[in-house]
């Protein structure tokens, strides 16, 4: 029962702030609502017993990526863009595309609904505990190579961002 209330709360918050992210005129408002959406998603992760991912989401997304976004919004002067048209002239094409994609996915879930087990047949939450230890073990044994490649990717992205944003002399 409490589970249900929490899920509805977090899901409603996430969807509401996501809608506000794509409709607000002021970019800084969009960024603030994106932070709420990401925090609500972190709550969903906690409810799914993914405690490590919950902390990673808050520290990395909300604390890292969003600060980067807000810094760039401050650096880029947006006063002019604020009074211009916010949506493309062909916005209805994108909307139609999204509706078609949504209908397709709902149909796919509906056709495959019998292969999804019922709410009560999920394995007990204890199968994923202790969460951080299991994630660390998987990362450093079975997924060692992807883990190292991800660190190289981050290094390349860091150098790339610095080179890209550097002022040409």
């Amino acid at each position: 029962m409490l589970d249900r209330v929490l899920f509805d709360l977090f899901a409603g918050l996430a969807i509401l702030s996501a809608i506000l992210v794509v409709t607000r005129r002021n970019v800084i408002h969009s960024a603030i609502f994106l932070i709420t959406a990401l925090l609500a998603t972190a709550g969903i992760f906690l409810q799914l017993h993914a405690e490590f991912l919950f902390i990673v989401q808050i520290i990395l997304y909300v604390g890292g990526i969003m600060v980067l976004f807000i810094f760039v919004i401050m650096l880029v002067n947006l006063d002019v863009a604020l009074h211009q048209m916010q949506f493309r002239r062909q916005w209805w094409v994108g909307l139609l595309l999204a509706i078609a994609l949504g209908a397709e996915t709902v149909a796919a879930i509906y056709i495959g609904r019998l292969s999804l087990p019922g709410p009560n047949s999920a394995p007990p939450a204890t199968a994923l505990e202790p969460n951080t230890e299991l994630v660390g073990r998987a990362l450093f044994t079975g997924y060692m190579l992807p883990f190292e490649i991800a660190s190289v990717l981050l290094l390349v992205a860091m150098i790339g961002a610095v080179v890209m944003a550097k002022r040409r002399t």
Partner: protein, 100 residues
């Protein structure tokens, strides 16, 4: 009690809102933020299935996706700053240097 289907529909809703944002907005920064929303929706799916299967591997994949999102945001914002310095705009339909 909440089944996996609930998480699938939540993830679908967030994904579609992100797609609408990418396809309709003109501001490049909001397009990048919509991409973050899309990646986040995928993470919800992965974690929900990780719980359903009772295996931690979905969460490992979600961590890799968060890493990719960080790299993408850093490079994307670097490109936006470089572009703004040259053209004084952040609107995607004014980025037409390759248009004939």
């Amino acid at each position: 009690m909440i089944g996996t289907g609930h998480y699938l529909f939540l993830s679908l809703a967030l994904f579609l809102i992100g797609v609408v944002g990418v396809a309709t907005r003109r501001n490049v920064i909001i397009i990048l933020m919509s991409i973050e929303l899309i990646l986040n929706a995928v993470n919800i799916n992965l974690v929900a299935f990780s719980r359903l299967v009772g295996s931690v591997e979905g969460q490992v994949f979600a961590i890799f996706i968060i890493t990719d999102a960080a790299a993408e945001a850093a490079v994307g914002l670097g490109i936006i700053i470089a572009f703004f310095r040259n053209r004084e705009t952040v609107l995607s339909d004014e980025m037409d240097l390759l248009k004939w």
